[in-house]
Amino acid sequence: MWALRNRSPSDGGRKVSDQATKRSAGAIFFVASVQRLFYTRCSNALVRLHGNPGGSLRGELHMKSISETVRSILDSVPGLKAAVVIDSDGIPIALEGDIDMEPEDLGAMLASAFQCYQALGDGLGQFYCELVTAEFDGLNVAQQMMPRGSLVLVAEKTSPMGVIRMAAKNGRHVLSEAMETTAEARKRFMEEHKLRLPRTIAPDGKQKALSLLSFLEQKKKKG
């Protein structure tokens, strides 16, 4: 998951590996009653579940099955460069492949583009927008609506749009169930657990500014 190529460091973009390290550093600690420890991969972060995670572990498994499914779609269609699942607000749920864009940025653009087509459909008296395709000079893109989000396939021009469209439709069927349950799992995940951010110590031993709020407050204090 998150195997996206980032902008080259020379143009100021951060390397994915940097982000991965950062996200790993931001591992989540769950506090619960039973003593066993579970380890599971979630994004690039190692998520440590203390005790019986119950619904949450199921939630993580659903998340995992979404990215596994997305990976299998990517592997099975020749010429596909990337397959992405975003939720209805454009938050990236799963990304596999190779696109030169930040996941959150990509998600926001895709969700808005889709909302525009949806609004157009409303105007034309249509119930819902099922599929949007875009043909660029170097890429073909298909965005397939799913429950609570959409599946986006990005392919090289050598892959005919018909093939991409079929792959998107098939992908929808496989992913639909997992997407339905993810929303529930996520809600439970928030209700059941506390999220604790670890303190980061800079190389000089000083506490690093952890949040934008503390950064701005400190800046203000200094005048």
Binding site: R7, D11, G12, G13, K22, R23, A25, G26, A27, I28, C42, S43, A45, V47, M63, D87, D89, G90, I91, P92, I93, E102, E104, D105, A108, M109, S112, Q115, C116, A119, R186, F189, M190, H193, K194, L195, R196, L197, P198, R199, T200, L210, S211, L212, L213, F215, L216, E217, K219, K220
Partner: protein, 194 residues
């Protein structure tokens, strides 16, 4: 607010009339107040009209702490694109209402606030959004005072800042006020941010 994997996603939006200064305020904060290492994009993503105003939104994802990403949007103020404006507003955790303090903009401010309150009533979750008001263009001559606008527009209960988006006057304070509210809310929901 959403939790995906190991991250919490928040959504902040600048909302207000056309030309009130939403884009300018977001640009100032993005390029002057937010440290580069927290930006997930190098430049603001902007979907503009051919004449430079916002068509759909300006957008930047910011990592406000290690596990919290805030997606900041500025919506379009032009009524021509009203249909998509409310879509951009959906699910916001924080709303900066940007008031154009110019006397000639008073009625337009009122109209867009009516639209906002209607959305807050009708759209799920929006009533829980934190609100901070920016009384913008405080550098101009023909303007109403913040005190007058607060009362006239019925915004007394919200934190308000008299701002100039061109110079960034009071924008950082407004952002601090918003971040404090959001942090308190996260903590109230049981997320312990250190």
């Amino acid at each position: 607010m959403k939790v995906v994997g190991d991250r919490i996603y928040l959504k902040l939006i600048f909302f207000g009339t056309a030309l009130a200064g939403k884009t300018t305020a977001l640009e100032w904060l993005f390029y002057h107040a937010i440290p580069d290492e927290m930006k997930l994009v190098k430049e603001l993503r902007q979907v503009k009209t051919s004449f430079g105003q916002t068509l759909l939104f300006d957008f930047a994802p910011i990592e406000i702490s290690q596990n919290v990403v805030t997606r900041i949007f500025s919506a379009t103020g032009q009524d021509y694109y009203k249909g998509t404006r409310t879509k951009v507003l959906a699910d916001s955790d924080g709303i900066f209402i940007v008031i154009d303090s110019q006397k000639k903009a008073l009625e337009r401010n009122q109209e867009i606030l009516q639209e906002l309150w209607k959305c807050v009533e009708e759209m799920e979750n929006l009533s829980e959004a934190e609100i901070v008001a920016l009384y913008n263009k405080n550098d101009l001559e023909e303007i109403h005072s913040m005190e007058f606008l607060r009362e006239y527009l019925g915004l007394e209960k919200y934190d308000g800042f008299s701002t100039c988006a061109l110079t960034g006057d009071n924008l950082e304070d407004a952002l601090i006020a918003m971040l404090r509210k959001l942090t308190a809310k996260l903590e109230a929901k049981g997320f312990v941010l250190e």
